[in-house]
Symmetry: C2
Subunit: 207 residues, 2 copies
Amino acid sequence: MDEISSLINALEQGCSKIQKKYFKKNEIITTYIQKRSQICILMSGKADLIRYDLNGNKDIVDNFNSNDIFGEAFYPVHTNNELSVIANTNCCVLFLVHDDILRKCKSNCKFHNILSSSILELTLNNAIHQNTRIEVLSKRSIREKLLSYFSILSSKDFSKTVTIPISLTNLADYLSVDRSAMMRELKNLANEGFISKNGSKIKLLYK
Amino acid sequence: MDEISSLINALEQGCSKIQKKYFKKNEIITTYIQKRSQICILMSGKADLIRYDLNGNKDIVDNFNSNDIFGEAFYPVHTNNELSVIANTNCCVLFLVHDDILRKCKSNCKFHNILSSSILELTLNNAIHQNTRIEVLSKRSIREKLLSYFSILSSKDFSKTVTIPISLTNLADYLSVDRSAMMRELKNLANEGFISKNGSKIKLLYK
DNA sequence: TATTTTCTGTTGCAATTGCAACTTTTTCAT
DNA sequence: ATGAAAAAGTTGCAATTGCAACAGAAAATA
């Protein structure tokens, strides 16, 4: 992706406001505590945004892939629960402080322009992903959530046969529904002829 | 807000890439059809993002207030349903094309820097709102959604007494639950002593 | 390769939710 | 000021969902 290359360029050429770090699987990349203007860019690998609730249950709030942008800057100020980003595989991450980018670095760093444009581009991508998730989460039944999710996959792939790119367990998390209830609904959809299902390969049979 | 002022400045001083338009209540501000890089900033007024579904039902997808940023640039490419932004009150809106901002305007417009920074700032705010909504939508019961929503309001206002800033009908939409079921759950929460309620004024009694 | 862990798939049951159909109250527009 | 429209509030009932508790398959790890 173009934007990332620009960032790397700026970094290599010595913009002092960017840091590049490597993480091994299961290492903590960052926590969302008092780093209000921290912005992170995942250059390679996969990571999860995790919350441990009051009962100590692990709750996967979000997950990030190559080229995703994240960080406390994207989150509301929280009093209670703390969020951590954990490496799911080995990761390479860029760290920047958006105050630096927007203000201090502005006048004197020749990479500022390209940086803020790149970050804006990534942030817009992030917004598109968020709106996609809001779209499916705002459906009121598991059936509608599934169909909406499949329909988005289908229009992305230009195909009536879609392959769910994550595990069904993670899909249930993404849709915020009980996994077993989701499995049941998948079966119902198949029985009623709306889809045919083979593992995570789904064929849409309607319209 | 600072960012908006900067934008107005750039506009007044004649950046050719920005347009400012006024709308009366119920007028269509924009549609999300083939304007992939359109970015709009609501300078004053209120507006709703609307979808008409297959049955012709009006569905409020999102709503915007002063200083909110929106536009097709924030939305996934859709094949089926079209989205429109409708003025809820009289509105003043800035229109920009993000390709212009990021590329064409870059080298020769002296306002480019301040523009891209401002847009980034607004886009980050937008991401915070989206993540807040995802947070409440991803709760699995109406009760949890309500408590999560109240808790966010409460930590924003530093108070255990919160006033729901929108109508209960709109709150049900925001939480994506049936309005009557939400009313029932509000009553249950009150009966069980978790909250006390007087219209849209809610007092949190737990912890 | 053996073993542990994660993922998939199922089902009964109780609790929650949506839906429909109302009445009452508040707000808006003429 | 008055009638119309929108919002708040209520309830019964049927459908959906979450929860718990499994078994078997697949994947990861030692």
